[in-house]
């Protein structure tokens, strides 16, 4: 039987519909480019568990998919986030918290006190600030699905501050079954209760990480402020692209293939500033602070005079200029707690105000009994700041009569060798260079580089009992003014015994397309709630 024209047309139309259906369906479910922000951040995201690693990129991932009990607002005040209300007992030993209604995980499960308590305990097993708190915790009883408590053995002034911590390890809330994972093992699921959910299907490890707006998220009603307030997802999708080449990332930003670049290279900022489609903003005003860690276990830095010599040796301005070029984005700073936070002061900084003094450094090295042995600097050649700072420090040491040697390698080899406690001749070291965030430096308890408990502490292994006592005093202080007073004492003492030497503070800008706005200034992380694309 011959096919009629009508039948043929009907059949063709039906076939076309059948073939197009998947495409149409995909078009309906894939967010449009206008509702998608593509961002290049400072590193590749390889580890998804913010308790297992202190890597900031994992912190960035956490802010997308997890939420926290409390958050710090713009003014660094603690504000409730997942918590609706809380109370503190008269003896200041019992903190009782009630969760907000409607909180859900991305799998639809309600957030309960059991999830919270398990998450907080897992966090406390790994995080320094949490460990300091939990040494004083007697119990974490669960009253009901929405109410739990932290019961202390003695009053402690930083309970809420610890739960609002913005530095890694972030105190994120996971499902109980994930939080019950051994803290020394990685949680590989990515189910949180934050404003975005992780899209495993669209993610390609090493290439791009995809997050979709979680429509079940219940934001707070307050306007967004720092890590606090309403975390409203104003875009449907965030794609974190892994782009290793800086020049390519800049080109991609200019061409509109990406919308945001966290750390554009300093030498290309002029190019970006001249492009009307691109804006530069400094989101992380505290930036980073460079530090020169000295090895206390072996000569010469086992002597306080040699460490004091380093204070007179370093000229921060030269290091910062060599790496960052533009003084808009850096500053010299002598405060042990960085120069942008609440704990900063200029107590006991005459050595800094007098400027570099190589002669004084030489005199102090002599007083320390320096005998001409090699002083080995671990030089991470693949990281510009560390590489350039090592070269300058080596040069100044030589000018001061010290036999400085550079041990060049990549950062991966540095992190191995810095753990070696043996003398230099057996594979040890005297100096290595790294940095910490300005926000981290402002916290004597949370920041591992502020420990001075000898070989049990962080690399360099400074030891000073007064410093450790003052850190405890800081944590137990109940007002901001009291903490500032203790911080001044900490700094006074620190620049006498010299745990480390600071190399300056810098805060480079991020670069974004002009039609993408709403990034909230935060130290150390880039949040994507409140971001809009027009």
């Amino acid at each position: 039987m011959a096919t009629s024209r009508r039948t043929f047309v009907k059949g063709t139309a039906a076939s076309a519909a059948a073939v197009s259906a998947p495409g149409l369906l995909m078009a309906q479910t894939t967010p449009s480019d206008a509702r998608t922000v593509r961002a290049v951040l400072h590193a590749d995201l390889k580890i998804f568990d913010p308790i297992w690693t202190t890597a900031n990129i994992t912190g960035d991932h956490s802010l997308l998919i997890y939420d926290t009990l409390f958050g710090l607002d713009d003014a660094r005040n603690v504000q409730p986030q997942m918590v609706d209300k809380w109370s503190i007992s008269d003896d200041k030993k019992t903190y009782t918290f009630t969760l907000r209604d409607g909180l859900k995980f991305h799998d639809g499960q309600a957030v309960t006190s059991s999830d919270v308590v398990a998450s907080v305990r897992r966090w406390a097993a790994r995080d320094g600030a949490a460990q300091h708190l939990f040494k004083r915790v007697a119990d974490t009883p669960i009253k009901d699905d929405n109410t739990f408590a932290i019961v202390l053995k003695e009053p402690y002034g930083l309970v809420l501050e610890a739960l609002a911590k913005i530095e890694t390890n972030l105190p994120v809330i996971m499902r109980k079954k994930d939080a019950e994972t051994d803290p020394n093992q990685q949680v590989t699921t990515k189910i949180g209760s934050g404003p975005f959910r992780f899209n495993e299907d669209e993610t390609k490890s090493g290439q791009r990480y995809v997050y979709d707006k979680f429509t079940g998220y219940v934001p707070r009603k307050e306007p967004p402020s720092g890590m606090a307030g309403g975390k409203i997802a104003k875009i449907d999708r965030v794609i974190i692209e892994n782009m290793a080449d800086e020049q390519t990332a800049v080109a991609a930003l200019k061409a509109g293939e990406i919308d945001f670049y966290e750390i554009p290279p300093i030498d290309l900022l002029d190019q970006l500033e001249g492009d009307k489609n691109i804006k530069l903003d400094v989101l992380n005003k505290g930036g980073n602070v460079g530090m020169c860690r000295l090895n206390w276990l072996h000569p010469p830095f086992d002597k306080v005079e040699a460490r004091q010599a380093m204070l007179y040796l370093i000229k921060q301005e030269d290091i910062l200029k060599a790496v960052f070029g533009n003084p808009k984005y850096y500053r010299s700073c002598a405060s042990l707690f960085a120069c942008t936070g609440q704990m900063q002061s200029d107590v006991n900084t005459d050595w800094f105000k007098g400027g570099q003094n190589i002669a004084k450094a030489r005199e102090l090295f002599t007083k320390a009994g320096y005998d001409g042995r090699p002083v080995v600097i671990l030089q991470a050649t693949n990281i510009a700041f560390m590489n350039n700072a090592s070269l300058l420090v080596a040069q100044w040491l030589k000018e001061a009569g010290v036999n400085a040697e550079l041990a060049a390698s990549d950062w991966g080899a540095v992190v191995t060798r810095r753990a070696v406690k043996k003398p230099v001749a057996e594979g040890g070291w005297n100096i290595f260079i790294t940095w910490g965030s300005g926000e981290g430096f402002d916290n004597p308890i949370g920041f591992v580089a502020h420990t001075a408990n000898g070989e049990a502490g962080w690399f360099g292994w400074p030891k000073d009992d007064l410093h450790e006592k003052l850190r405890d005093d800081w944590a137990l202080a109940s007002t901001l003014e009291e903490r500032k007073a203790v911080a001044r004492k900490l700094q006074e003492n620190a620049w006498n015994y010299v745990p480390m030497v600071l190399l300056g503070q810098w805060a480079p800008p991020v670069a974004r397309r002009a039609n993408v706005s709403g990034f909230i200034p935060l130290p150390a992380h880039v949040p994507f709630w409140n971001v809009e694309k027009t």
């Binding site: 580890i47 202190t54 490890s205």
Partner: protein, 313 residues
């Protein structure tokens, strides 16, 4: 022929075994600690030690090697220390971009290079010959990433014709796929073009000096068939050899090209793994590449028989 193939395949196994031992030892004896990189800069030594223990990195080297070897023999390349994803899955995700880039580069390079080489040999001593040689030297001398940046600047930023970076799988459409590969193939292929063009020219000149070419010309055979049918076929063996050797260069150059053009291929995978000391990935990729390289050489050797019937195994 069959015994030749079997013999070469067996030797592949031996090569891969030697590579396995060498790469394992090189990695584990080199400085670097993946556990320290995993936990981040602010972690304490206790945390690093705990992670190292959990990952089995504090076991004796022989135990770690045996564990890995047993896995290999079962076809399991292990799991990434960082992402906990199977190495075979990671390689599987990255193989298409790398193969696509290698094939398009090979196709572009061979077509252009052989044409230029034949042209230079035909017009030997003229300005055409000299131009081809100068361009070859330049192509070989300029680093891949410099060429890459220049191409991006001209064709992506200034003209807006082609994307700056990225890769589109072929299932997204041939046109989209090829658009993302044009610039990377050009950047990577230029050095390859230079190498093949020069060898082609030399081999062609040798062939064109033979008696049979003089006979063909004397019989009135046109220039085209003389060049393409008689000379090129006889010059084919050294050209094929250098194409085979060049595949090794291609694999090496792919790493830089993938980084510049942000192509998520195996080259990028292994470079990232090296900086992070992700041992299973480095070991797995190196092992596979060594096997691939031996097989490519075998295929090149076998292809000689297609060009030169005098060659028999």
């Amino acid at each position: 022929m069959l015994s030749f193939i079997v013999h070469r395949l067996l030797s592949t196994v031996v090569v891969m075994a030697i590579v396995a031992v060498c790469i394992f030892l090189l990695l584990h004896l080199s400085p670097g600690d993946p556990a320290a990189i995993i936990v981040g800069d602010n972690a304490t030594q206790l945390q690093i030690d705990a992670v190292r223990k959990q990952l089995g990195l504090d076991d004796p080297l022989a135990v770690q090697f045996a564990r890995w070897l047993v896995g290999i023999l079962k076809g399991d390349l292990g799991v990434s220390i960082f992402s906990h994803e199977p190495v075979s899955k990671l390689i599987g995700q990255r193989i298409e971009p790398t193969v696509s880039l290698a094939l398009t580069t090979l196709a572009f390079a061979v077509m252009i290079a052989i044409s230029f080489g034949v042209l230079a040999a035909w017009k030997v001593g003229t300005w055409i010959d000299r131009l081809v040689m100068v361009l070859s030297v330049l192509s070989f001398s300029v680093p891949v990433f410099v060429v890459g940046y220049l191409l991006i600047y001209v064709f992506s930023i200034k003209l807006g014709w082609l994307p700056v970076q990225g890769y589109a799988p072929i299932v997204d459409g041939f046109a989209t796929w090829i658009r993302h590969l044009i610039l990377p193939s050009l950047a990577l292929g230029l050095a390859y073009v230079a190498l093949i063009a020069r060898i082609t020219r030399t081999a062609m000149l040798d062939a064109l000096a033979e008696d049979y070419i003089r006979t063909a010309r004397a019989k009135g055979v046109a220039t085209g068939p003389v060049l393409m049918k008689h000379a090129l076929k006889n010059a084919g063996v050294p050209i094929l050899t250098v194409i085979g050797i060049g595949i090794a260069l291609l694999i090496g150059g792919v790493v830089i090209t993938e980084t510049v053009f942000n192509i998520p291929g195996i080259g990028r995978l292994v470079v990232d793994a090296i900086s992070q000391r992700d041992y299973p990935i480095i070991q797995g990729v190196t092992l596979i590449f060594s096997g691939v390289y031996v097989i490519v050489n075998l295929l090149v050797d076998l292809s000689y028989t297609l060009i030169d019937p005098r060659i028999r195994y």
